[in-house]
Amino acid sequence: MAAPPREELAETMAGARHTRVPSRSRLVARRFLRTGQGRVGFALLASLFLLAFLGPRAAPWSATDLDFTAFLQPPSASHWFGTLQTGTDVFAVTMSGARRSLLVGLLVAVLSTAFAAVAGSFAGYFLGWTDRTLMWVTDLLLVLPAFLILAVMSPLFTAGRWLLFVAMLAAFLWMVTSKIVRGMTRSIREREYIQAARFMGVAPPTIIFRHVLPNLASLLVVDATLNVSAAILTETSLSYFGFGIQPPDVSLGGLIADGSATALYAPWTFWFAAGVLIVMILAVNLAGDALRDAFDPDAGRAG
């Protein structure tokens, strides 16, 4: 990049004294919220979070309560979303499932993206044997059928050990991103500032965490967002077959599986859980797409 002419540089510096230059995160946030997609996605996500975490406090029933006077009843003033065959309140249990799905999605996304960033950047920076080993493991995990492995391991996730499930799910989601990170690291490591740091004797891990990864921040943030929906979808299909989140925890996938059996004559058992899931994924995808545009320097819209 050519240096700006002297006068222009002086002008920018003078301007900088008067108006605060917006930070990158502020710029991205502003561009994110300017698009319709970003606003809708953000609003949907925020209201889902509020509903899932605060809604149950306002509702008369909790997810573990059974109402023995109302089996499989349609929505009413007492049961906002109706009841299941066991007398469970559908609103309470759906919100409980949504809470679990949101938590699983967020944790898995953060974990898998972090892992992808570390594995990919180390492979791309060191090359040689580190690269070959890490990429071989990546290929192996791509070849292993994730659904089957997670399903076989499902007995381990009982008794509230859903965090183990989160870790295993994350272990099968990082591979593709790490390949992209590796490729980008390979080109970044030839840049002057990295070479300068290397010749000054900065330790390689410091270079990676201080100079390489911040340069990939936009890719990683967008990837983490999209991983949220991927994680929620995988969790749902595993839980649908009873291999995911285990009782006493409930998840939307399990609710949809139970509800689908009674959907024809008691639609409220199926549609509320399905609807919450659809809105959740839609919101995450919209936010991810708007975020990608906001980070993209070629989007053509300044500030």
């Binding site: 071989w136 290929d139 192996l140 791509l142 070849v143 292993l144 059928p145 659904f147 089957l148 492995i149 399903a151 076989v152 391991m153 007995p155 381990l156 929906s229 979808l233 749902t236 299909s237 649908y240 077959f241 291999f243 996938g253 949809i256 599986a257 689908s260 959907a263 024809l264 199926f270 399905a274 899931l277 659809i278 809105v279 994924i281 839609l282 995808n285 919209l286 797409d289």
Partner: protein, 327 residues
């Protein structure tokens, strides 16, 4: 070139071997075939259970390494062992692979063709009504999980059948058993069974392909060679189809090979909801029935499918893009 291919093939075989072995070891540790016998009523004598489990190489009291070696020896001779109640694993899976292929083929082809066309049309009329509509639809479809979509189709079909008083769509199985009214009726019956699962597979694919293809097409539309083609006097339509679309098809084609490979085992939900007895359904059943050998065989099949798919996508890429062959 020959050396590269050889090394690549060797690595593929190594990956499949390691992946299958890991799956076997995990399944043999985590699953418990003994409980299948002990859950029976009347309960078989302990010695019988023991002998049966040992005969099938499923005895959890034998060391894992010994069971693994017996199993691996069998696999090398092309024998994937037996299920927990003594049937051959290989024969059953071969039949099921056929069922899955018949289910997936139409959905994948339909989904990719329709998706590519929709994406290309959206790119040509960027920011027009079709572009906006298809983008909105793609977002909506991508937000609907297959589980929900499949059940929505079933609910919709039952409602429509009731409304019309005729069985337009059939929602369970591959064909009606015991139907013997000639070839025409048989084919119609199969088509009625196939419509809904195909839609449930194709819709998601259309959404993905249309997003991909739209982006690729937008990149190509401004390229010099498209402008040159039109400057030479080619009509806009011909230039777009012959030059722009053909070039921008490459990623879609490689993606096609990949989805096809993963769906051979990954159509689990569609198969379960619509009652097709294919690979995906067997995967669930084998884990539920603690069927170690079947789980390992399905893993091997899945690994093989993914490997062949990635190989096919590389070959297709090289065929379509001369730059890859030179480079």
């Amino acid at each position: 070139m020959a050396g590269f291919l050889l090394r690549r093939t060797a690595n593929c075989i190594l990956l499949i071997t390691v992946a299958t072995s890991l799956a076997y070891l995990l399944a043999a540790t985590a699953l418990d075939p003994r409980s299948n016998y002990e859950g029976r009523n009347p309960r078989p004598p302990a010695a019988v259970v023991e002998a049966q489990l040992s005969r099938l190489n499923l005895n959890d009291r034998a060391p894992l390494s010994e069971r693994y070696l017996t199993w691996a020896g069998g696999v090398l001779r092309g024998d994937f062992g037996r299920t927990w109640n003594g049937d051959r694993v290989g024969a059953d899976l071969a039949r099921r692979a056929g069922v899955t292929l018949r289910l997936v083929l139409l959905g994948v082809v339909l989904g990719s063709v329709a998706g590519v066309l929709a994406g290309a049309a959206a790119a040509v009329g960027q920011y027009g009504w079709f572009d906006r509509l298809s983008t909105a639809c793609a977002f909506l479809v991508l937000a609907i999980p297959t589980v929900v979509l499949a059940h929505m189709l079933v609910i919709g079909a039952v409602w429509l059948n009731d409304l019309l008083g005729v069985q337009v769509f059939l929602v369970s199985g591959e064909a009606t058993p015991g139907l013997a009214d000639g070839v025409g009726a048989g084919l119609l019956d199969r088509a009625k069974h196939l419509v809904l699962p195909t839609i449930s597979l194709a819709l998601g694919q259309i959404a993905v392909y249309s997003r991909y293809q739209r982006n690729m097409m937008l990149d190509v539309l401004d390229a010099d060679f498209v402008r040159t083609a039109m400057a030479k006097g080619l009509r806009r339509r011909t230039a777009l189809v012959r030059h722009a679309l053909r070039t921008s098809l490459i990623p879609a084609v490689t993606y096609f090979a990949f989805t096809f490979g993963s769906l051979l085992v990954g159509a689990t939900i569609t198969e379960s909801v619509f009652g097709w007895h294919g690979m995906g359904e067997k995967l669930i059943a084998s884990i539920r029935s603690n069927d170690v050998n079947t789980v390992a065989a399905i893993s091997c099949f899945a690994a093989l499918a993914v490997m062949l798919a990635s190989l096919a996508s590389d070959v297709l890429h090289a065929v379509l893009d001369p730059r890859v062959r030179v480079g």
